[in-house]
């Protein structure tokens, strides 16, 4: 990151994920690179989708373009698939924001062969560690549905992936 990139990063930090608006695209870790031209009028952003079929991917690209066009004459968006996105790229602030939003953040770091997506460390509502899985798939590709055995509230778990 250089001094001029900072403007683009600041704009990107204001672009929410359409499904989980408490997180920005920067928090999610899907912005892989930002390069702006010497005259600061053109910018190129490299994005890595979270899931192959995530319907939010195209909305995110459009939102990123709209946000940057307010400040740049030319915006180029590049999709980079490799290396594949992982929840390890979510920053700590993102994990805290998720928890505050009622979504249990991914527990720990990914390990191969990735059949194990981890288990929530605590219920995001009451903090109890007594939780159980209801379903392996949830409201978006990145989440699973869990339930707290103490407060009985269901909640989303952001799968470690």
């Amino acid at each position: 990151m250089n001094a001029t990139d900072t403007r683009a990063w600041a704009l990107l930090a204001q672009v929410p994920d359409p499904e989980i608006p408490v997180l920005s695209v920067v928090d999610l870790g899907i912005v892989r690179a930002v390069e702006d031209s010497a005259d600061q009028r053109r910018v190129k952003v490299t994005l890595t989708p979270t899931y192959s079929g995530c319907p939010a991917t195209e909305v995110i690209a459009r939102d990123v373009r709209t946000a940057l066009e307010s400040s740049y004459d030319e915006v180029e968006i590049v999709t980079q698939l490799s290396p594949a996105w992982t929840t390890d790229w979510m920053n700590d602030a993102a994990r805290e924001k998720l928890s505050g939003f009622g979504i249990a953040p991914p527990a720990g770091r990914t390990t191969l062969p990735l059949l194990d997506v981890g288990t929530p460390q605590a219920c995001p509502h009451c903090g109890s560690a007594g939780v159980e899985e209801i379903a392996g798939f949830g409201s978006t590709p990145c989440k699973a549905l869990w339930r707290c055995r103490s407060c009985r509230e269901p909640f989303d778990y952001f799968k470690r992936h």
Partner: protein
Amino acid sequence: MASPTSNAAGPYAAIDLWRIADGCLVLSHRLSEWMSRAPTMEEDIALGNIALDLLGQSRGLLQVLGDEDRLAYFREPQEFRNPLICELPRGDFGFTMLRQLFVDCWLVDLWPDVAADDTVPAEVRGVAEKAVKENAYHLRHSSSWVVRLGDGTEESRRRMQEALDALWPYRGEVASDRWYARIEPVLTEATLPMPPRDAWTQRSSADGWHTEHLGYLLAEMQSLARAHPGASW
């Protein structure tokens, strides 16, 4: 326009990308038929998510092979290279889950091969890297249902046995030594004896032969794009 035959002696003939792309696309469409009809809300969501993953994986490959919309919506059945097992009607929930297991056990070893293959384009390896994780999770899901239903009630076991008998002749295009090694322990745990490996099997999709079911599936999938060519949201 690119077509399946143009890849026959292509630069990455070792891995048939058409077969994977079409298999994922057709199976994704089959799974989407469950939307609002699955036995529980959680399964409705699960099948929808899996269908989306498969659709995304297929799109990633079709974008490399040519114009994705043209390839998905304007090819005829005989131009598709999906394994026949992907196009069979969805059947009951048990049949759907066992078919997922058959296909998951194929893809779970195939995607790592693609990800590690230096002869395929970098974009394809990128698709595969992501798919490795997604498919491993799908396999977890299909395995658990096959075990639960096979080793379940008398009725669920009967249906799983029927599904196994119906699907076994369609394993030929996805099976290999490692496939049998994957599926046998799951079937055993599900109390479903694995049928003989040398039993007869279909293998004709590589020549463009399909079951009658693909035509109906494509008619539905392609009708909007063909009625309104070039339409967009």
